[in-house]
């Protein structure tokens, strides 16, 4: 009986596709978000149609960095205290494999083709390189103390790693796996994000309280985004996650214990608005249509949903304990 229904459903779906009807797009924002809960050792799966948690997946210890494989089939999550990256099958929503990430993985980045994965090993001052198809370790790169933030240039040629105690953004040539430049930024750099047009790299400094903007050609800091919130002491402003719209016009910066997301005009590098979200906001992810931005709020154990166009928080979803990372199916 059930099978019958499903067959019928899929037929309708196919018919819809073939005839070019907008049937498939009925709920415009039906995406699946995966949130890593650092303390619960779980992943909360959120349906962006109903804005509810549809499943909680048990994973290894201290899950943080999380990302979909490029083909959308798997979710990779760094479980630092188990010294591995676990692989979740997006279809069955269960852990099916693990990657040789090296010790204490936190954040990682993959190339555009989804073939190579670069992992920051916080305990070892190294970046581990993994062949994703073979799920084998290819080598490692020595970087500064406590490597964390990871991003790859849109052309795939440059990997940026930030090291938290060395206070640098290391520019690594992905072909030779050699560091080509080290750029000093403010204290405790945690996250790096390229502009989609490759013209700038943005690096957040949690303790420094700024975002440094680096010219990736000259390897120089060419500007800084600073934050000021009336009534809030400066120490509470601790920038972490960064999200940039595809047109490179607007950036969103998570400000940690300031409990706010700063909306930044990329051209002028000025904050235009602060959006109040949950407590200790860490990271964020856009829905693929860029209508919504979801942020993980560590201390209040929830996820805030921001309407990107309206620049408004429209929803809060309770997840597990200390939500940290987030990724949304492509």
């Amino acid at each position: 009986m059930q099978i019958e229904v499903r067959t019928q459903m899929s037929r309708i779906w196919r018919v819809g596709l073939l005839s070019g009807l907008a049937l498939v797009a009925a709920p415009a924002h039906a995406f699946i978000a995966y949130v890593s809960n650092e303390k619960s050792n779980t992943i909360s799966v959120i349906d962006t149609d109903t804005w509810t948690v549809t499943k909680t997946i048990k994973v290894g210890q201290r899950p943080r960095g999380i990302d979909f494989t490029r083909d959308g089939k798997f979710v990779m999550v760094a479980v630092g205290d188990d010294d591995t990256i676990q692989v979740i099958d997006a279809k069955t929503q269960s852990v099916v494999d693990s990657l040789p990430s090296g010790p204490d993985p936190e954040l990682f980045a993959q190339d555009a083709a989804g073939k190579t994965l670069y992992v920051a090993n916080e305990n070892d001052n190294t970046v581990t390189v993994i062949d994703l198809a073979k799920r084998a370790r290819l080598g490692d790169i020595q970087v500064g103390v406590e490597p964390e933030g990871m991003t790859i240039s849109p052309d795939g040629k440059t990997l940026i790693n930030t090291s938290e105690t060395t206070n640098m953004a290391h520019f690594i040539d992905t072909a030779s796996r050699q560091i080509v430049a080290n750029v000093l930024v403010d204290a405790r750099p945690r996250f790096a994000e390229f502009r989609h047009d490759s013209s700038e790299v943005w690096v957040s400094s949690e303790i420094g309280g700024t975002v440094s903007i680096i010219d990736p050609g000259k390897h120089e800091v060419i500007g800084k985004v600073t934050f000021e919130i009336p009534g809030l002491r400066k120490e509470a402003i601790q920038p972490v996650g960064i999200g940039m719209t595809r047109d490179d016009k607007t950036a969103f910066v998570a400000l940690g214990p300031a409990n706010r997301i700063a909306v930044v005009d990329v051209a002028s590098r000025k904050v235009t608005k602060y959006l109040l979200v949950g407590q200790r906001v860490w990271h964020m992810a856009f829905t693929p249509d860029e209508k919504y931005l979801l942020t993980t709020n560590g201390v209040s154990n929830d996820v805030s949903v921001i309407d990107v166009a309206a620049q408004k928080v429209i929803k809060t979803i309770q997840v597990g304990e200390l939500p940290w990372g987030i990724t949304i199916a492509p």
Partner: protein, 393 residues
């Protein structure tokens, strides 16, 4: 032809050496006193390398960063034995090191700082918590990474008041440093509205800290010592000398928590601290030293990291340049305490959150919510600028 060849080789050699220039070497000295003090708890007995182990880790951290900037850090340790001249040892260290981290008693530190002033050596006091080193006896060439007694007392007091445990039974040891800590606790009580309902003195009559049948005796003594007290919420002990504090928890006449020198203790750092990325540092420390990290280790680590931070920001190993930067308005250092640490420019004391620990866990971190300040909430801990008697010379 040969001359041409020789010339070419010479030129290429010069070019190579220009590319791989010798790294700038930054020498850091560590000056402490030989031997360790006895504690009541065997678990808390400090290791021989307490303090310097933290400095050593920071040297490693600085060198990892330094390899990208062509800077190299070295550490030279010196421990003075009883009867040895500390000034002589300091002068000797200063001949090779522009920076010296010290774990010295207040008087010895003052002697050293006065002798080294002309030379321009920058000292980091990692060990002494005495108020007077930041007040009447402050020095322009001494930076303090150790917190003060008043900072520690205020950190504890804020929490006790927040908990609404505002009636304190204060028990003070008979040694000078116990009395100084008691002074700080009294000041805290006045500042934050706690009431010391009674004070008692625990006389040190000598005796060994290690015995075979100690527990039986202590179990009889402590209830008797604490009986007939007026109504109180928490017993606050001032026992820096390690004579009785650790005997109090679970043995008071009335069932009351203990804080201060035992029970809930204020410290700059603890082996249990794992928030704000501290776990990585705790792991690095354990790997290097095969033991857990103490508050003194952290105070020394922070001192050496401050040097590293300033040398990388100024891209220089010049002591004067580095010193000016550390004392300047743009300096801050990250030390796994959830906020940037800066210097109080009026007395060169490092502002820092203080942990409240019970020997197994971090119970809380002060300043507590609601203790406000117009400049930095960290300045709700200890003597603030308007109260300071320090004139930096």
């Amino acid at each position: 032809m040969i001359r041409w060849l020789v010339g070419l080789i010479g030129w290429s050699l010069a070019a190579t050496s220009a590319l791989a220039a010798d790294p700038v070497t930054i020498g850091v000295g560590y000056l402490g006193v030989a031997g360790t003090r006895a504690t009541l708890s065997l678990v808390e007995q400090p290791a021989e390398n307490d303090g310097v182990a933290g400095a050593r880790l920071a040297i490693e951290d600085n060198n990892t960063t330094g390899k990208f900037l062509n800077q190299r850090f070295t550490l030279e340790e010196r421990r003075v034995k009883e009867g040895e001249d500390v000034v002589q040892a300091a002068t000797d260290l200063a001949a090779r090191n522009g920076f010296i981290v010290t774990d010295l008693p207040a008087d010895a530190l003052l002697k050293v700082s006065d002798v080294l002033r002309e030379r321009g050596t920058l000292l980091f006091n990692a060990g002494a918590i005495d108020e007077r080193l930041r007040e009447a006896d402050c020095r322009a060439n001494v930076i303090h990474t150790a917190p003060t007694r008043a900072m520690l007392a205020d950190a504890l007091g804020q929490y006790l008041v927040w908990k609404k445990w505002s009636r304190w039974l204060l028990v003070v040891g008979s040694h000078d440093e116990d009395k100084l800590f008691a002074d700080a606790l009294r000041r805290t009580a006045t500042r934050f509205g706690a009431k010391i309902v009674q004070e008692r003195t625990f006389e040190d009559k000598g005796g060994a800290r290690r015995t075979d049948s100690g527990v039986t005796l202590i179990q009889r003594q402590m209830p008797v010592f604490t009986q007939q007290a007026p109504a109180y919420d928490v017993l606050v002990a001032a026992d820096e000398s390690e004579v009785f504090g650790a005997y109090l928890p679970y043995r008071t006449w009335d069932p009351r928590p203990v804080a201060g020198s035992a029970g809930l203790v204020p410290r700059s750092w603890d082996a249990a601290q794992d928030q704000w990325g501290a776990i990585q540092m705790q792991n690095r420390f354990f790997k290097l030293n095969s033991r857990r990290m103490t508050a003194l280790d952290m105070q020394a680590w922070t001192a050496v990291r401050m040097i590293g931070e300033a040398t990388s920001r100024t891209n220089s190993g010049d002591v004067k340049k580095v010193t000016d930067f550390i004392k300047g308005p743009d300096f801050s250092v990250a030390a796994f305490k959830g906020t940037r640490l800066t210097l109080r420019d009026w007395n060169l004391q490092l502002r820092q959150p203080i942990l409240l620990v019970d020997g197994r866990m971090v119970v809380s971190v002060s300043p507590q919510e609601g203790f406000l300040h117009q400049v930095s909430e960290l300045d709700t801990l200890g003597y603030d600028r308007p109260e300071s008697k320090c004139k930096l010379k």
